[in-house]
């Protein structure tokens, strides 16, 4: 353990997240639902407040002072995001309302343009519905086919199957950086290399990756990387699509409206340059400024050592949960992060989650918007504990104690 991690003070970090001080049903809140959304540090909340208190105004079109201030802040945020994911250019960063919208944008823009009848789109068995359904919809529209990369019992992608699956019909492969159920970290570089050898585009769903890995889109080697702000300490309703400039430039726009146009007449419209071409309508300016504040916060606290600390807590949780009789992990990948999914043999996840909730412990239960994955393991759902930089080993102990209560009551 290096010095930075040893000096990491979780108490200090927790003080930055006022919501954590709450009592829930007379118990101190234990928040292990970070995979759904993380809590927000004061700095982010204040940045959003400050925006509305001092510079709220519509961006990119005003001649007045406030509009310029807001535009500057918004474009500053774009640069900050680009740096955070090591994008070559900030114009490759497109603001959306979240991962789901980012994927819909790419899928719809590619439909008919790149994706035509008889083509194939590849996803994996471990995808979130948001990385299945948009593709299914455009496939149906253009007459393309959706294909699926299988996974092993331990929850790892069968990467070797790609050699036969990635035929010339496949135009794009869309896959999770980190599984939202299994926690598996997929070998992004290897998959991208295999795809690119065959001229296939790659989209990485970074919804669960962004808060648990330092992301460098250039070294990952993908064509698109998408994520949500709200899972990385930023406000709800903020998201990013990063794509290679050359690709984004050639792609047609997704939605029409203001901001995305160059010139409009009733006989035809020419479109603005990237990123604006893909940002129709008024964006969530305050949210994006909050996203910038979240990035600044993570930089300030040294994100790398925060992640190392978080890994330690997750590992401790894994070892502690292992001691519970009748607990079965769903997903046992060698490389994993962020979430641990499990079931208590004989108990329904809904019951386990409800009883934990009564002890002030927030976990997620159900199919986690990954029904095909539940079918793969023949289970109705799982209990999922997902971790963050502010969770502690004491909280893990409470989770374990809470699960023992649940087991006593339910089994």
């Amino acid at each position: 353990m290096d010095l930075a991690v040893m000096q990491y003070s979780v108490d200090k970090i927790r003080a930055d997240f006022p919501i954590l001080k709450q009592m829930i049903r007379k118990y101190p809140l234990v928040y292990f639902d970070n995979g759904a959304t993380t809590q927000k540090p004061v700095k982010v909340i204040e940045a959003v407040d400050r925006y509305y208190l001092t510079i709220n105004s519509n961006i990119h079109r005003g001649v007045h002072y406030l509009s310029n201030e807001a535009t500057d802040a918004f474009e500053q945020a774009r640069k900050r995001v680009a740096t955070f994911i090591n994008a070559p250019e900030s114009r490759e960063v497109i603001f959306t309302k979240g991962t789901t919208e980012s994927i819909n944008l790419v899928a719809n823009s590619l439909a008919g343009f790149l994706l035509k009848e008889g083509d194939e789109v590849m996803v994996t068995e471990m995808e979130h519905h948001a990385n299945i359904v948009p593709w299914q919809m455009v496939c149906e529209r253009v007459g393309a086919k959706l294909k699926v990369v299988p996974i092993s019992d331990s929850g790892e992608l069968l990467v070797e199957s790609l050699d036969s699956l990635l035929t010339e019909r496949v135009k794009i492969i869309a896959f999770a950086h980190v599984s939202n159920v299994l926690g598996t970290i997929n070998p992004v570089q290897e998959i991208c290399a295999k795809a690119h050898e065959r001229g296939i585009l790659t989209l990485v769903d970074g919804a669960q990756g962004i808060a648990h890995q330092t992301v460098d889109v250039q070294s990952l080697g993908c064509d698109f990387y998408v994520f949500s702000g709200h899972k990385m300490y930023a406000p709800m309703g903020t998201g990013v699509l990063w794509g290679k400039a050359s690709l984004l430039e050639s792609m047609p726009p997704y939605q029409g409206g203001g901001e995305m146009i160059d010139k409009v007449s009733f006989t035809g419209t020419t479109y603005n340059v990237i990123p604006y071409k893909f940002e129709a309508g008024t964006p969530d300016v305050g949210g994006v400024i909050g996203l910038m504040a979240a990035i600044d916060y993570l930089t300030e606290i040294d994100f790398g050592s925060a992640l190392e600390y978080e890994e330690g807590v997750m590992h401790y949780a894994y070892e502690s949960l292992k001691q519970i009789e009748g607990l079965r992990f769903i997903g046992d990948a060698k490389r994993r992060t962020g979430v641990i999914s499990f079931i208590l043999n004989g108990a329904h996840p809904y019951d386990v989650g409800s009883i934990l909730d009564h002890q002030g412990i927030a976990v997620r239960t159900g199919h986690h918007c990954a029904q095909p994955l539940m079918d793969r393991f023949a289970i109705p759902g799982t209990v999922r504990a997902s971790f963050s930089i502010y969770n502690t080993r004491e909280e893990v102990d409470k989770l374990v104690a809470g699960l023992k209560v649940a087991a006593n009551m339910l089994l």
Partner: protein, 143 residues
């Protein structure tokens, strides 16, 4: 007050006796175990009320002017609440079921499981019970 809500108030008072959530839930789990279970052969898709979190099965019979329900769920807490709802309506006349307001559920402290956002099939189940009553009324009583 209709007969369903009258019975419901009595059931709610059982739950009001508990100060501790754990005792209340232990009781609920016991109730789940005593539920008049739907026959395995009746666990068909048409009797399934699918929630995002848990699944509920419900069947209904009409005999001599009264409605009888059977049910099940894959989650025991959901099953306990299925049992509470069935107890309040089982053997009631169609009009009582249709008129029931179920306000007494507020007193049970179980209301959070009946929020539409919980998506455990229970909200849809209540609707289904009333639909059964309406269908029986049309079929057998509107002469």
């Amino acid at each position: 007050m209709n007969a369903v809500d009258e019975k419901g108030l009595a059931i709610a008072s059982e739950f009001e006796m508990f100060d501790e959530w754990m005792d209340k839930y232990n009781y609920l789990i016991e109730l789940g175990k005593s539920l008049p279970l739907i026959d395995e052969k009746d666990k068909t898709t048409s009797n399934l009320i699918s929630g995002c979190q848990s699944r509920v099965w419900l069947s209904a019979n009409y005999e001599n002017g009264k409605v009888y329900f059977k049910g099940d769920s894959d989650a025991i807490i959901t099953k306990g609440i299925v049992s509470v709802l069935i107890r309040s309506m089982d053997g009631a006349g169609v009009d009582d079921i249709i008129a029931s307001e179920l306000d007494w559920l507020d007193n049970t402290g179980l209301k959070e499981h009946l929020s539409p956002t919980r998506s455990n099939g229970l909200v849809a189940m209540i609707k289904q019970m009333k639909l059964y009553a309406m269908a029986f009324k049309v079929k057998y009583e509107n002469k």
